[in-house]
Amino acid sequence: MADTTTEYGTILGADSNFKGEMSFETAAKILGRFEGSINAKGRVNVADGSKCKAAVKAKEVSVEGHIEGNVDAGDRVELKPKGSIVGDISAARMTMADGASIDGHCRIGVNGHAGKSSANTEVKPAAQSQQQQQQQVAAAKK
């Protein structure tokens, strides 16, 4: 098993209660209570028993505890069996274990993750060709 201290550059202890804004360059593990916002370039792990009332923005977010707030992951969101998220989730990929819970709007794997979807503006090729045919018929009649 990998040593927690080497895997995570920052660890917020189980008895800690933090309010404010935090940003990390590498990986962070949250064991206590956090309120505010988290901004990380690496991985954020919300451990079992911890509670985060925060907007979390990171490359990878792993949830074993509880997050109340929006989660925005550049790469992936991983929900472990006891993990729960109440808020909107935006990520390129997501895995969810049995027992985990989600309550919020999800946007997974759609053009990266940052809501740049072109799905709603998609034009069906069949409809296009029908229009072209109709135009050709109308021109021929004239």
Binding site: I89, R93, M94, T95, M96, D98, G99, A100, S101, I102, D103, G104, H105, C106, R107, I108, G109, V110, S117, A119
Partner: protein, 157 residues
Amino acid sequence: MAKSLQRRQIRCYLCGHRFEVSTRTMSVPCPKCNKALKVEDILIKSYLPVNEVQTCGKITIAKNGRVVAKLIRCGDGIECEGTLEGAIETDGELMLGPKASWKGKTLYSKSLAISDGAKLVGYVKVPFQPLDEKQAQAELLAALPKAVTSNGDDDGP
């Protein structure tokens, strides 16, 4: 030859009533609301544009399958390798394969399994506890306007 007595419990997707049927049953009227219920499993291999897809069984969407519906409701869960569009309500598990996608207003499911590469856009509530018969009735009664008091007097001025 002895008849098979294997039975399974289903829940009416319209009124929430739970009852038992034979495992071979394909459709049955609900003893409570008398509405016809589909019990068989559904396999979708191609494009299916409909208003509603409802069954007490399982819905499977194959690789080239595409369902566009207002409401997709089933009892035994959904296995999707293709495309799903519309609100989903299932008492079972929703499994999205690596090339599967779902887009809709709401997704209510007991559990959710998402493979790497699957796409998902919409409001998700997992786990979702469907309303039982009594709860549904209680909610219905609560939604009704308050009954007039026995002497017909109103509290207002």
